[in-house]
């Protein structure tokens, strides 16, 4: 267990060291206008449709090692090549669906630097010679994006038209094929089977679906090159990334950090701990629970932690909270967010949630069945919803093992009253 004081003593110096401002602005002043944006980052290259520029940009993206920031960490350069290998003219989707209820980073980014994201989207469109950019954005930031698109239209900065679509708020709506399905048919659920979106997406066209944070990094990478991009981060996971830091920290919020920054320094960015720590949830609601005492000194990177970073969520889970109860509550929510298209997910997740709820309430739970279902569900959906939920629950059962044992005997040792993990209230469909 890590005391609150341990961190806050050195919090200030660590926070200064960890603070990175590549894609975020210093906030405060609201969305950065086009003029201020161009002054800060410089104009875009003017030769953007020459084949030399396009080839160079794909190569720079690959050299930089830019990975997608929507959760799956797929190499961006590889996605571009897949789209480029198709014959039809493609479409680019800038994805800020942010269906993860605890994540805020895509919205914060668009509320601070909408033009950097739109730069990235139009650069991506020029690289793959797309005929349209479609921005699928959370309703919270729709006005900022509309305003920024209008500014660009008046200044005539972009070759491609930019269409803005308000995202669906279902958890699975941000998955690439679900975003395409939402744009095309108004159905925010993943599509099964091949073809991939890079082959056939919006209107049957090859579609490059990129998270908006990825696009912001692309906008800078194309201005400054891959060497600049790799100046921070780790050799395997270069660059900076956005993290949403919530839970028992003094100031929850979104921060930009170099990948590989020690977890303790990231917690210091949030003003240090507001309560002793029990565990950390890393990545998101598809992420992994990690014990805090061994994790806090490790570098925040997929290799450093041994788990995926997902969409960059870090939940500081306080000692007084009950990991079993929170896991059951989260499992029920995630079961409700299944698109209901695939049997294993549709029936398996509610069954899993039911046993976890029994455990949380100290009633007899079918633990052997629970373990088997969690193992069997992996990889058996059209999207990775069931896999992500199972991973998160399996790590919870491991990290909160002592509390699981207490619950099996009918006890709960938690003292806290409030839930730590935020879930959407009201209608979730």
């Amino acid at each position: 267990m890590v005391s609150g004081r341990l961190l806050s003593d050195s919090a200030k110096s660590c926070a200064e060291a960890a603070d990175v401002r590549r894609i975020l602005t210093d906030g405060g002043a609201g969305p950065e206008g086009l003029a201020a944006h161009l002054e800060r980052h410089g104009a875009l290259a003017s030769n953007r449709l020459s084949s030399a520029w396009r080839v160079a940009m794909v190569r720079e993206t690959e050299r930089a090692g830019l990975l997608g920031r929507g959760g799956a960490a797929f190499p961006t350069g590889e996605k571009m090549r897949a789209v480029l290998s198709e014959t039809r003219q493609p479409v680019v989707i800038g994805n800020a669906t942010e269906g993860e209820p605890a994540s805020m980073k895509d919205r914060v980014l668009l509320a601070q630097a909408p033009h950097l994201v739109l730069d990235g989207a139009t650069i991506a469109a020029d690289i793959v010679m797309a005929c349209e950019v479609i921005m699928v954005v959370h309703r919270d930031v729709r006005p900022m994006v509309d305003y920024a698109v209008d500014e660009r239209l008046q200044m005539g900065v972009d070759r491609v038209p930019i269409r803005v679509v308000t995202a669906s708020e279902r958890f699975v709506a941000g998955e690439a094929s679900a975003a395409v399905n939402w744009v095309d048919r108004g159905r925010p659920v993943p599509l099964g089977k091949p073809p991939r979106m890079s082959e056939r997406g919006v209107g049957g066209r090859p579609t490059l679906v990129q998270n908006v944070e990825t696009l912001a990094h692309l906008a800078l990478l194309c201005r400054h090159g891959s060497q600049w991009y790799r100046q921070i981060g780790t050799p395997e996971e270069p660059g900076s990334m956005l993290v949403t830091l919530i839970g028992s920290v003094a100031r929850p919020g979104v921060h930009e950090v170099a990948i590989g920054t020690p977890v303790s320094d990231i917690l210091a960015l949030g003003g240090g701990l507001s309560a002793p720590l029990q565990a950390l949830l890393v990545g998101g609601y598809f992420g992994s629970w990690l014990p805090s005492d061994t994790t806090i000194a490790l570098p925040f990177s997929a290799l450093g932690l041994g788990v995926g970073l997902g969409a960059g969520l870090i939940v500081a889970f306080p000692a007084g909270a009950c990991g079993v109860t929170e896991t059951a509550r989260l499992a029920r929510y995630l079961a409700s967010q299944s698109a209901g298209q695939c049997g294993p997910c549709k029936f398996g997740l509610p069954a899993i949630a039911q046993e976890l709820e029994a455990l949380a309430e100290g009633r007899p739970a079918r633990m052997a069945d629970l373990d088997r279902w969690l193992a069997e569900i992996d990889g058996r959906g059209a999207c990775s919803h069931p896999d992500g939920v199972a991973r998160q629950i399996l790590t919870a059962l491991e990290v909160f093992h002592d509390e699981v044992v207490q619950h099996e005997e009918g006890w709960c040792t938690a003292s806290g009253e409030d839930f730590v993990l935020p879930l959407p209230t009201g209608k979730s469909r």
Binding site: L191, G192, K193, Q341, C342, G343, P344, C345, F347, G348, A351, D369, W373, E376, G379, R380, G381, A382
Partner: protein, 94 residues
């Protein structure tokens, strides 16, 4: 449930694999309705979960089962099964 006593084999080190045209059995999870015919016809590669949905071995279909696998694909009432050509012997790419 029929044919499940043999258990599920997830790896096939000694089975004869047709190297000319290795395939894996795949299922469209959205189309699948859990009718369960696949597990009856091909228990070597398919077992069912508690709700009757198939759990398919990730391995390459052994040559000795290829014909049966093709029949199973044809007979699925939801047309949810297909055989996918594959190069690597045990890729886990879904």
């Amino acid at each position: 449930m029929y044919g499940l006593r043999g258990g599920l084999r997830t790896s096939t080190p000694n089975w004869e694999v047709s190297m000319s045209n290795p395939v894996r059995l795949r299922v469209d999870r959205i189309a699948c309705d859990g009718r369960g015919l696949c597990a009856e016809l091909l228990p070597e590669l398919v077992k069912l979960d508690d709700w009757g949905y198939p759990i398919i071995a990730e391995c390459i279909v052994p040559a000795s089962l290829e014909e049966l696998a093709r029949d199973t694909v044809d007979i699925c009432p939801k047309l949810a099964l297909w055989l996918e050509k594959t190069n690597a012997e045990m890729t886990i790419d879904r």
